[in-house]
């Protein structure tokens, strides 16, 4: 008895040792705190980071930005060719990809995905511009055609998550499967959404037939816990119930930097925060002179030093300084005395404005308070209305329901000037057209420059065009660029492999993470 008992574990160890050479089975559970609950699971809403962070694990795209990189890598697509005129992209798909239900992923699924998004008028297509159609060449070849050349097309495909046609198609009837995909998942990604309780937690479990294999250190389960309170997130991080806490206050993050057991990761984010002035308004912000005055009333340096506690970069115009095509000095510097003079000269004192913002985001609130305080000094009342993202998004759908000022983060889906400038300043993408141009900004010259830049493939030419556009935008005083905060995430030191992904801001590279 005794000797056998001793023998068996040895045998098991030997066997598992053999298999671990081929595949290291994912182990452990990673718990990530998140302060906003997801709307749903629909890949059509992948523009929203609380949705994207779940989809990123559950779905695959044709190409993807690996965390920490600025160029796309092949994913579902092994390789691709681009036609001379830049209008046709032909992708060769991997042949070993299976969906979570075990069926093979083919070109038909890719075509179906794109057709569905088009039919559903999905937000995620806003970034993809002139896509006109998809065509199945054979099982593993798909051809996408554009109506005109579009430089960042490949980058934009990184948020087009391919769905399982066989599963989704039966639910297309009324609403393009929006309701079905809102709570069901039809992906091929490394993780399967195991449970979805959007007010409590969402759990993803490793998919054992993942085409990419499970080499290296991975977690078997990822749980997103929805914890609104920064303080609760902090205490859960400290009690070990949570390993990643992105939403605790800057002050707490600074304190954690000095504490053993935690790592505070500061990612170089390229997500500008704007005050968008309602440029189409019949009210005071419709007046460029007035906007010029407003443009002088925000102290960015103070915001960076005291609100972000230095964890970010000082903005110089709407584009990140390090990006190609950045033009310096297009926005006015902080000059409250100058603004005061303009107010006095024009008799603007006593004006009341409204700003809408997301109170859940500490730095937005602080920025609003800062602006309120400054404007109060020059005789202008700024009322604030705290909202949640979808509610605020609903108000900008009409010019007359758009507040005088809206705070908005631009989360570029890929690191290209187009992703920021086009989304925020192209008149085709104003709030009333369903886009993120919440300044309702419309300037034909700017539109022309942006469109030309988008269809060009020459980097130098594009940079030049974007520079010109920035100058024009600056002259119209459409926005104040408030900050470029770093992506500061507090992580337990048991976590291995966390890396900030600029293309998927506020998500987590869960497929790279393991636990010590």
């Amino acid at each position: 008895m005794r000797s056998r008992a001793r023998f068996i574990p040895v045998l098991v160890a030997a066997l598992s040792g053999v298999s671990s050479l081929a595949i290291a089975a994912p182990t452990g559970t990673l718990v990530i705190a998140e302060n906003e609950t997801p709307e749903n699971l629909d890949p059509a809403n992948a523009t929203n980071s609380t949705v994207d962070e779940l989809l990123l694990g559950a779905y695959d795209a044709l190409v993807q930005f690996p965390a920490g990189e600025t160029a796309v890598s092949p994913r579902l697509a092994k390789s691709w060719t681009i036609s001379e005129d830049g209008l046709t992209y032909t992708f060769t798909l991997r042949d070993d990809v299976v969906f979570h239900d075990g069926s093979k992923l083919t070109a038909a699924d890719v075509k179906f995905t794109l057709d569905r998004l088009k039919a559903a008028k999905a937000n995620v297509l806003n970034d993809i511009g002139p896509l006109s159609g998809a065509e199945v060449v054979d099982d593993h070849t798909v051809k996408l055609t554009l109506s005109k050349p579009f430089g960042p097309f490949l980058s934009a495909l990184s948020r087009i998550y391919v769905v399982n046609k066989a599963l989704v198609e039966p639910h297309m009837a009324e609403d393009n499967a929006r309701q079905w995909l809102a709570v069901n998942e039809a992906g091929s990604g490394p993780y399967v959404i195991a449970s979805y309780n959007p007010t409590e937690a969402v759990s993803l479990k490793a998919f054992d037939k993942y085409w990419g294999g499970w080499d290296g250190n991975h977690v078997a389960e990822v749980v997103f816990r929805y914890i609104t309170e920064p303080s609760t997130q902090l205490s859960l991080l400290k009690s070990g119930e949570v390993q990643i806490a992105p939403d605790i206050t800057v002050e707490d993050k600074l304190a954690l930097m000095k504490e053993p057991g935690y790592v505070v990761d500061v990612g170089q984010a390229a997500t500008p925060l704007y005050f968008d002035f309602n440029t189409a308004s019949k009210g005071p912000t419709g007046n460029p002179k007035f906007r010029e005055m407003l443009a002088k009333t925000f102290d960015r340096q103070l915001h960076l030093d005291q609100v972000l506690m230095g964890l970010g970069t000082l903005p110089d115009g709407p584009l990140p300084t390090s990006w190609p095509g950045h033009e310096s000095g297009t926005e006015l510097a902080f000059d409250l005395a100058g603004a005061k003079k303009m107010v006095d000269d024009n008799g603007w004192a006593g004006t009341t404005l409204t700003v809408r913002y997301l109170p859940a985001i500490q730095e937005e609130k602080s920025a609003v308070e800062q602006l309120q305080s400054n404007l109060a000094e020059i005789g202008i009342t700024l009322n604030a209305e705290g909202m949640t993202w979808p509610a605020q998004a609903a108000t900008v759908q009409k010019v007359d329901t758009t507040a005088d000022i809206n705070m908005i983060y631009s989360f570029p889906p890929f690191p290209d000037p187009h992703a920021i400038l086009n989304a925020s300043f192209n008149s085709a993408l104003t709030g009333s057209n369903g886009g993120y141009n919440w300044a309702q900004y419309s300037n034909k010259e700017v539109d022309a420059l942006l469109n030309e830049a988008a269809s060009s493939a020459d980097p130098a030419k594009r940079a030049e065009l974007y520079k010109k556009a920035q100058v024009l935008i600056g002259k119209d005083f459409a926005v104040i660029t408030v900050s470029y905060p770093g992506s500061v995430v507090a992580v337990s030191d048991k976590v291995e492999g966390y890396k900030y992904n600029a293309a998927h801001h506020q998500t987590f590279n869960i497929m790279d993470i393991g636990l010590k």
Partner: protein, 279 residues
Amino acid sequence: MRVLRRLLSFPKTNVERTAIVLGCLILLLALVGAFLVPFDPMKIDFRAKLQAPSMLHWLGTDGSGRDVLSRLLYGARLTLASTFAVIIVVVIIGCTIGIASAFVGGAVDNMLMRLADIWLGFPPLILALGFASALGASLEAAIWALIFSWWPNYARLSRMVTADILSQKFIASADALGVPTHRKVLHYVIPNAMDVMLIQIALDISAVMLAISGLSFIGVGAQIPAPEWGAMIADGRSYVSNGWWIVLAPGIAIFITAVSFNVIGDMLRRELDPTSRRR
């Protein structure tokens, strides 16, 4: 003079005396506090943020470097003014409906009171939440929302008190004299209903205040930078780990105010309520 002497004879215990002193102090601060504030309650100074209570900032500073004491004093007016706004409107609307209902009687009375009964049943916070969400988030919306959900309290109470008064023999005496209705309302009903209303108002001050601050806390009430006490708590929530005083101070302010008015209301009930006075 008479009334004042009578009022001064009310408090019987030290708790009640303390409550009255505190209540008056809070009302006084609400009136003049805005002029006493040591710092500008709205002025942002990020360099001074999250300072613990000190000789300079007695209650510390908040996450935007504003003096908590100044905000508290300034907020006293906002908080109490909203509370009283709700109560005044609710008393006027509710009592008009209630008194009219009692006078008209019959089916109309029955219907109105059933309506009020049912209305009253719904959790005021949820009803207010629904209303506020329809109106959009602002302190005014929260005030209207509370009025919308609170009026049946007074309609019912005033209808009950009026019916009780109308059933008394001095009203029958007045009827025997042919006293006209308007005179009955003004000279008979209102003066006699006053005490009960006063008690209810005193007790409702804390309830309404808690409701308003609750709505502000949820985010459908006062908006930044208004230092409404509930909003201040909401504001300080994220700093509990490194700025506990930001949450503590307005909470204690609400607590003290609510308890003071509760004690005063209870005292008034003991002294004025005819049912408890009769031994």
